[in-house]
Subunit: 120 residues, 2 copies
């Protein structure tokens, strides 16, 4: 953010990878690992809770295919791996509602592009 | 960001709406307004320039349909409307390369959810 930037439209904006590769692709894909129903579940829970300041979006390939299903929460830039409703609920309760982190589900720094952060 | 957060995987992460609604839908859609070739162009230019610290992703509906094609740049949280290659090039040169803003293409604060920011 720089001085003069407008306020954020959303306090938190979640992007869940729903990319699907063909069956048998060596990298697999988040949709192939079940991301779509998890996306639907998170969207439904956010709506039920009336969290209008949080938006949940599908995204194309986030390039963490082997670790999927993955999501990233902005503007925080925190990446998670989710595999079931309990994971989604914990991210919802801890991160999306309270701004905390869920270390057990966070991707590691070395899971970033080229084995680390791409930021110089 | 909170203390202890890992470094960002990407300096800037761009999400372009490629949602497509059926022809004749009253809100229209970003894909219906030409977002997909603009997404392809931006991805190709970022690759040509070797901007490994910038990632460009397709996204589902960003809910600014009437204003599309739209994109959002995180972690900055800056929203743009793009309509042609010149717009993409200007965002690339000014924002993605230099961290500046392109005011003529930015969505306005009142273009946010419910006519403003959803952040309390």
């Amino acid at each position: 953010m720089v001085a003069g930037d407008p306020p954020l439209y959303y306090r938190l904006h979640v992007f869940i990878c729903t990319n699907r590769r063909p069956d048998g692709h060596p990298r697999g894909s988040c949709a192939g690992r079940g991301s779509e129903p998890l996306r639907d579940y998170l969207k439904a829970r956010v709506k039920e809770l009336g969290l209008g300041e949080v938006r949940v979006n599908a995204a194309g390939c986030l390039d963490r295919c082997e670790l999927g299903p993955t999501l990233v929460v902005y503007p925080d830039g925190i990446w998670y791996r989710i595999t079931n409703h309990d994971d989604v609920d914990e991210i919802l309760t801890s991160h999306l509602l309270r701004g905390q982190r869920v270390p057990r589900l966070m991707l590691r720094p070395e899971d970033g592009p080229n084995g680390g952060s791409a930021v110089a």
